[in-house]
């Protein structure tokens, strides 16, 4: 009924190599991400997928290669820079703020948008309160969107795994990112939860036009929802292209038979 059209390149990583001491984690990786697409990086565990994300949002600093984001080319991203430039992400092993409620976790995601200063916040009157309220509204829309109304005020520590994943996604969305990095959003979920998560990912991409880079280690889920896929294995790039192409690729098949998924 409606045709997906991919925009121009927003992110391009070129010849990225990363190593810790003697260990080579990424070896000359090159790919690009287009505006509004769902881009997947797949590969068996230990393929360096997470490291790739960490390079993109500046947690790791590669020894070689360049990262071009929104036309600016750098040798490495800086974490806060990435955040300010509209890159948000979720984590493979959930990195929520355990001491806070769902609501506060997601509110924290909007920290960059809050302008009132410490004094105003201390007095909690006028601007500070106005901001709290208007951001609360935004956050509530996200809560509504992710269908987590029932756990709004629950401390995230008490939530089941699947829910925590959702809250984390919510926190990332709260920043209204242009580029959303999802690190194994479906890992460790049951079929139902996976389907929900898929729906959310698609809806996010669709409703907010957010560009999404997504990591998964099992191909199944990803192939249906992504526009293009990069395959990594032990830090080496095996393939890059539309799902069905990649599916046919011999190297990929071997790699996956290797890990028998």
């Amino acid at each position: 009924m409606y045709e997906r059209k991919l925009g121009d390149v927003v992110l391009r990583v070129e010849g990225i190599s990363l190593s810790f001491g003697a260990m080579r984690v990424l070896n000359n990786i090159t790919f690009d991400v287009r505006q509004g697409e769902i881009r997947s990086i797949i590969g068996p565990n230990g393929a360096g997928k997470s490291s790739m994300l960490n390079v993109i949002n500046g947690v790791y600093h590669p020894q070689q290669g360049t990262i071009t984001y929104r036309g600016e080319t750098r040798d490495q991203m800086k974490v806060h820079h990435a955040a300010e430039q509209g890159i948000a992400r979720t984590f493979q092993n959930i990195a929520l703020f355990k001491g806070m409620s769902t609501l506060d976790n997601i509110m924290t995601g909007r920290n960059l948008k809050i302008k009132s200063n410490m004094l105003q916040q201390a007095i909690y009157w006028g601007k500070a309160q106005r901001e709290e309220i208007e951001h609360r509204q935004k956050v509530e829309q996200i809560i509504d969107f992710l269908e987590i109304q029932a756990i709004r005020k629950t401390p995230v520590g008490k939530l089941p795994y699947g829910m925590q994943k959702r809250v984390e996604l919510g926190r990332a969305l709260a920043a209204e990112p242009d580029l959303l990095l999802l690190d194994e959003p479906m890992a460790g979920m049951n079929v139902e939860e996976k389907e929900d998560m898929c729906r959310f990912v698609l809806d996010i991409n669709d409703e907010f036009g957010t560009t999404i880079v997504l990591i998964e280690h099992d191909m199944g889920v990803v192939m249906d929802i992504s526009d293009r896929v990069v395959v990594l294995d032990y830090g080496v790039q095996l393939a890059d292209g539309p799902p069905d192409e990649v599916r046919k690729n011999q190297a990929v098949i071997d790699a996956y038979l290797g890990v028998s998924n």
Partner: protein
């Protein structure tokens, strides 16, 4: 059991984000304030106001400060005493250098000075974490005390190294320091300040900055990734924390003791305040007060207990036994409820709200 919440729904975000969202809690809080401001001054003796309520309030304020830093922002500090001292001496220098300055101005300014010092000693926190930081803060503790001892300038070259507050009044001749000050005046003055700052702190921790602090505490790397800048966030915590500690120090020196020497703020003071927030509850405004009450009252109880049982034991032994019991109780409390009195209070409240159900 006591709660009747059905029909208490929130139609605005203001209402939903209020500090106390349950009607009965609001009543309770008002009742508490009435008691604190009206009943206590009327009924309690000079002794109670002067030697129990004052130190309780002032140390509660210091605990509040430390709790912001350690409980909310997760930066363990053992330098509280040093910061209190800074506040005390800053107040002294200000009051003596500018005799015209109003007491409130003096106190706020000394807090500000301390905030500056706090920022200075907070800088290492960017690179140092956990116990390394804790020990590093000890450096500030020792250095500051040494400094105030060493350099006469701080004490206006008083031979004893003791500073005493000049008589100052809030308005007219309502003196809160010096010989003319009544216990009531001191108490009410302190109470007002403490309540005020408690409110401000509560506001901070439920606003963005508070969430940033907790984010840094709970998972700093994730916090950084969602755009929270480490250095400013941590330094703000140090600044505000030492601001409160400074004011507490100033109050201690001016309102409570009237005259004080640096040793009053030695490392034991730091530990005392740390105890307060641990016993009271990390990351809780109410915890600071509960903890302070506990730590202030316990020794008084311990030192009087023997007399009640008609025993008389030599003083030094008593002090040793005190130390023993104190240590024992600390351990006992940590075992019973590691998250402190505030958590106990919270659990009790939950139980009451769900009564008769267990969950």
């Amino acid at each position: 059991m006591l709660y009747r919440e059905a029909g208490e729904f929130k139609a605005t975000y203001q209402a939903d984000q209020a500090i106390l969202t349950i009607r009965q809690d609001r009543w309770f809080m008002w009742a508490m304030l009435v008691v604190a401001f009206l009943v206590i001054p009327l009924v309690s003796s000079e002794y109670w106001l002067g030697t129990i309520m004052l130190p309780f309030l002032i140390l509660a304020l210091a605990a509040l400060g430390l709790n912001v830093l350690t409980g909310y922002a997760g930066q363990l500090s053992l330098g509280t005493g040093g910061f209190m001292a800074t506040g005390a001496f800053a107040a002294y220098k200000l009051a003596t250098a500018f005799p015209g300055l109003h007491i409130i101005a003096v106190i706020l300014m000394s807090g500000t000075v301390t905030a500056g010092v706090g920022i200075l000693f907070g800088i290492p926190s960017l690179r140092i974490k956990g116990f390394y930081l804790a020990v590093a803060t000890l450096a500030s503790q020792f250095f500051l005390i040494w400094m105030f001892n060493k350099f006469g300038w701080f004490t206006n070259y008083s031979s004893s190294g003791v500073i005493s507050a000049p008589p100052m009044s809030v308005f007219g001749d309502n003196y809160v320091t010096g010989p003319y000050a009544t216990a009531e005046a001191k108490y009410l003055f302190t109470l007002t300040l403490v309540v005020l700052f408690a409110l401000l702190t509560k506001n901070l921790v439920r606003s963005n900055i508070g969430r940033e602090w907790m984010a840094v505490r709970d998972m700093d790397i994730a916090a950084e990734i969602i755009g929270i800048k480490m250095l400013p966030t941590k330094l703000k915590a140090f600044a505000y924390s030492s601001f409160l500690c400074g004011i507490a120090g100033a109050l201690w020196a001016f309102i409570y003791t009237g005259s004080v020497e640096p040793q009053a703020f030695d490392v034991n003071r730091s530990f005392q305040v740390l105890f307060m927030i641990i016993i009271g509850g990390l990351g809780s405004v109410m915890g600071a007060f509960l903890g302070a009450a506990f730590i202030v009252l316990l020794p008084i109880f311990l030192s009087n207990a023997p007399h009640w049982f008609g025993l008389n034991i030599p003083v030094d032994i008593i002090s040793h036994i005190e130390a023993m019991v104190f240590g024992g109780l600390i351990i006992f409390f940590l075992i019973v409820e590691p998250h402190g009195l505030a958590r106990l209070w919270q659990l009790l409240k939950e139980k009451l709200r769900l009564w008769p159900f267990p969950y």
